[in-house]
Symmetry: C3
Subunit: 181 residues, 3 copies
């Protein structure tokens, strides 16, 4: 399992928990929680793949995403108090998730020969889209449009990119990027 | 005309009426009614086809869906009192619609070689997505996240599946499924 | 540069300004403004291309759209007073944008062999979808469902179509339509 794939699943887990908590605040039932958790976690990547024409989209070909989301919803329901208490810690992972999702989006787009500026836009948009859909479904103005989280995520994304370059992963991008194609 | 195709059009009609009624409650004009009715009726299937890469999506290749939706909006506008009075009866058809849409989604995904668990998720998501978009457009928290309708729909979906198996339709799935591909 | 392509970029600019103004009214930050401006400007065309399977979607292959949107957001932020004062004038361009977007959508769909009635639906839906997403993101009931703008836009769309036919552009549609394919 490549490092990026592992971080992707961690990001999916944390995003699913944030969706699940938002659903629980709105007193949605278990189905609502699963729905909101899923669109938060894989909504951005789904739109990215639909825009790029990389279909069937990634999570239909890899059951791990479904397992991770179901696990995240189960954790939120069973250990709600612990999860709520850990929220500040989760926020860090959330920011990391944004960074990883941006990174994956940028790479996937660039492998399709799309110009760099649009790759960055694609990466960013698809990273934040899950949260935007989550807030829209919960009938809230999207959090990301009001908070400083985006700037932080950009920095984290940059750091991840630099780290991966340093580790020599970005040099042979095609090797690990094939995991997501 | 296959049974599933007929039930699909009935489901489309009922979903379009539910969208049309929601638009009328919000005092939308006729264009708003057509828009909301359409996304309620074919929004779920559109997203399903976009995710699976089965494009152009189904309703662009078959004018019957457009006719059925226009008819449903016309009925709601012309016979609003009758339609409103029939709402409880319509609810039954609505649940049937959810069942049929789930069934079609599951079959379409499984024909593409997607694993069964994800087929069920795909079927369910795309069946309920139309209603979720309808409620979001009307600036309401999606009804489906709060009500028991989903459980009912699952049971209906199961019954339809069993009935179709019993009628021998599920045995030669490829024959009738080709209608939707 | 063909006339339609130029009008398309003008429409994109005006739609991006309307998104940017809506974001500013909701006190979104600069990232929120860019996000809302982008989905308002290219959201409709993106959904159109995803539905038709014309991927990667148009704006990923042509950086001009990104430049125009960024320019529109910059104008709104830097010259907010002037832009707000020009709102009534912009409204005219907005209506023109709806007309052009409808026209492009109709043509793109018809080149794929889709039947005329559905082409018109596709064109209209994708023209208004950007504004619908903008209003949904801003937690408002979509303006288009309540106002007369749609009828106006249809007339403008019709006029543009007639004008282009008069100029002989619609006769050799394939020539200029290839710009968008």
């Amino acid at each position: 399992m490549s490092l990026i794939y592992f971080l992707d699943l961690v990001g999916t887990f944390v995003f699913a928990i944030s969706g699940s908590l938002a659903a629980s605040e709105k007193k949605f039932d278990i189905f609502g929680a699963l729905f909101v958790a899923s669109v938060t976690a894989v909504g951005g990547g789904t739109v990215r793949d639909a825009i790029l024409g990389s279909t069937p989209v990634f999570w239909t070909m890899d059951t791990n995403y479904l397992l991770v989301i179901t696990g995240a919803v189960a954790c939120t329901v069973l250990f709600k108090k612990i999860v709520t208490r850990l929220r500040t810690t989760l926020f860090l992972f959330d920011t990391m998730g944004l960074g990883v999702f941006t990174f994956i989006g940028v790479e996937k787009a660039s492998l399709m020969g799309i110009s760099p500026a649009i790759c960055v836009i694609m990466g960013t948009f698809t990273a934040v889209l899950g949260g935007v859909i989550r807030d829209t479904l919960c009938n809230e103005v999207p959090l990301i449009f009001r908070e400083e989280i985006y700037a932080t995520a950009c920095i984290v994304g940059g750091i991840i990119f630099v780290l991966l370059s340093y580790l020599g992963l970005a040099d042979n991008i095609t090797t690990w990027a094939s995991v997501f194609s």
